[in-house]
């Protein structure tokens, strides 16, 4: 059984979203379920810093030994931070998907999109 954290929001694309101290800025990553389905991640492609992204757009990719999966934007906004260290060594995506392996911080432009995110219970039924 993969770990689902109660304090986080989720998408059906197996991404998690976390609030930060700044109410406009949200952190995102991939879930424990996602990393275990992918297997060992070998390469990561992230959107450029300061680039503008739209909800559900493909903004990057995660390559594992057996597949390449797309990274979808969970929310619309501007990329204000990227986890640069993961680009050199993506292994924390497997060992620490919720903590060390955050991917992006997004300053959101459309608050109404937040209501479309899944809570932990709803996500648990997706991640089976």
């Amino acid at each position: 059984m993969s770990e689902i954290r109660p304090e986080l929001f989720y998408t059906k694309e197996h991404e998690w979203i976390k609030k930060t101290n700044n109410p406009k800025v949200f952190q995102m990553g991939i879930t424990d379920f996602a990393q275990s389905a992918l297997g060992d991640v070998t390469y990561l492609e992230l959107p450029e810093l300061d680039s503008t992204i739209s909800q559900n757009d493909v903004v990057g990719s995660i390559e594992s030994v057996k597949s390449v999966s797309e990274l979808f934007a969970p929310l619309s906004g501007k990329v204000t931070a990227r986890n640069e260290s993961l680009l050199d060594d993506p292994s924390p995506l497997n060992s620490s998907p919720y903590d060390d392996a955050w991917l992006l911080e997004i300053e959101i432009t459309n608050e109404s999109e937040l209501s479309q995110l899944l809570g932990p219970e709803a996500y648990a039924s997706v991640a089976q």
Binding site: Y43, E45, E48, E63, S64, K66, S67, V68, E70
Partner: protein, 475 residues
């Protein structure tokens, strides 16, 4: 038709009566009934009456095998071009290849093996590809080479697509040097606009026929994704990769070097020495005969940092579970059988046999052999240029021969008053059993209207070149 050598045997007559398409009259009737038509012709009403074949095809009557062979040999002997003194260039050259290579290449393991779908059991094929990649990377001075593409022109196309993928924030515009082959330009212009990528020209200097930093004009109002320079260019002039590097850096574009003649790297400085991003090439000259326009060999190199965006297959060197040397298809997650429509390229097979032949050719030649051959070609073309210039001076012929550094090709440029000269020379030479060269367009700004492009290879001796000069000097 000659008289019969040997009467066909009963067996051969029997075979003749067997139709290639196993459709019996009974089956035909049932199919037509099912389609609700009375005859096959009713299914093809769009073919105009006058284009339909009536009666039997105009073919000779049946022959025995021996007779058929003789007939075909006679037919092929009419085809003179293949045996003529050949100076056609523009990307396909009549070079020689050591005879042992075809002997080895004809082994079943090489000749009949297809693309390595089960890589772990095709270690020999993978080792061949790995060695090919290593040699090409060394020849180009680049960090990585892929397992090959189909030909030079499509390699340029793939390079442009890769440049656009890796420069997402730039304008989807590519500048290609004016000296790029016509066919390469046509391929880019037929594929790229539908993908939203525009093709523009990096003009050449009308005197030197080189595309230089001074002749580059950015008329797109932003940073283009890619800038492509071909060398040697289609007039035979060797271009400067350093100029490409500096233009690309200034414009914040990816630099694409197109080595149109792989053997030129035997003597000229390779793209890798000039920090070029993507270097591609045509590998036909590496032991592959001109054929009927193919198969050729696309060469593709890039920087290690970009390998995930590189099209085509890549073979790696690794160790198996027992610590023994092993070869593997690496980064195959980018390929279409895994990534489907998101693959970086749909080239997933490769020109394996041609790549293997090129690897054997490079092994046979070695760096010293390639350098010696390159010097020999260059000295032939300089001899030819001087001889033509002297002849023109002597005969008061006003045409210009390209200046600057050359490898194995040159172009004679003619002004508007002499526009038929090129055709005349091609015909005159043909009458003497020589394919003298190809009609090429020249920069509009040069004041000339047409060019005659002449290539030389190691097959040509001084006497052959002198014969060319005589023809060119005739009035």
């Amino acid at each position: 038709m000659s008289s019969r050598l040997v009467e066909p045997t009963d067996k051969e007559c029997e075979i003749e009566n067997m139709r290639y398409l196993p459709l019996t009259e009974d089956e035909k009737t049932r199919i037509l009934e099912k389609c609700g038509v009375g005859s096959f012709e009713e299914l093809t009403p769009n073919i105009p009456e006058e284009l339909r074949v009536k009666g039997l095809l105009n073919l000779p009557s049946r022959m025995s095998e021996a007779e058929l062979l003789e007939t075909l040999e006679k037919l092929s002997s009419i085809n003179k071009g293949a045996w003529m003194q050949n100076h056609l260039g523009q990307g396909v050259y009549d070079h020689t290849c050591p005879t042992w290579i075809d002997q080895i290449l004809g082994r079943g393991e090489f000749l009949t093996s297809y693309t390595p779908y089960q890589p772990e059991v095709t270690q020999g094929t993978l080792q061949g590809i790995f060695e090919f990649q290593s040699m090409i990377a060394e020849l180009f001075g680049m960090e990585v080479s892929n397992a090959s593409l189909y030909d030079g022109a499509t390699a340029v196309l793939e390079a442009v697509l890769m440049a656009v993928r890796t420069r997402k924030n730039n304008k989807p515009i590519v500048y290609i040097s004016e000296g790029t082959y016509d066919n390469t330009r046509k391929i880019l212009e037929s594929c790229l606009p539908d993908m939203g990528i525009e093709v523009r020209t990096w003009w050449a200097d009308p005197k030197s026929l080189e595309s230089t930093p001074e002749t580059f004009e950015n008329d797109c109002g932003g940073a283009p994704a890619a800038i492509v320079l071909q060398s040697p260019n289609r007039w035979g002039v060797v271009e400067d990769w350093a100029g490409l590097d500096s233009v690309a850096k200034k414009e914040n574009a990816r630099s694409v070097a197109y080595v149109s003649h792989a053997l030129s790297l035997g003597i000229f400085s390779p793209p890798g020495e000039h920090d070029i991003d993507i270097a591609v090439g045509e590998g036909q000259a590496l032991g592959i005969p001109p054929g009927f326009g193919g198969p050729h060999l696309g060469l593709f190199c890039c920087k290690k940092a970009d390998i995930r965006q590189m099209p085509g297959r890549l073979v790696g060197h690794t160790e198996d579970a027992r610590g023994q040397q092993a070869f593997c298809v690496t980064l195959s997650t980018r390929e279409q059988h895994i990534r489907r429509e998101k693959a970086t390229s749909n080239i997933c097979s490769n020109q394996n046999l041609m790549a293997l032949k090129a690897a054997m050719y490079m092994t046979a030649m070695g760096p010293e052999g390639l350098s010696k051959l390159g010097k020999g070609l260059r000295s032939r073309i300089f001899y030819l240029r001087t001889a033509i210039e002297n002849k023109f001076k002597e005969k008061n012929i006003p045409h210009q021969v390209v200046q600057g550094e050359l490898f194995n090709e040159l172009t004679i440029m003619v002004g508007p008053k002499h526009s038929l000269w090129v055709d005349e020379k091609i015909t005159q030479a043909q009458d003497q059993g020589i394919l003298i060269g190809l009609d090429v367009s020249v920069p509009r700004s040069s004041g000339c209207v047409r060019g005659l492009n002449i290539a030389v290879t190691e097959r040509h001796y001084q006497s052959d070149l002198d014969k060319l000069v005589e023809i060119l000097g005739e009035s």
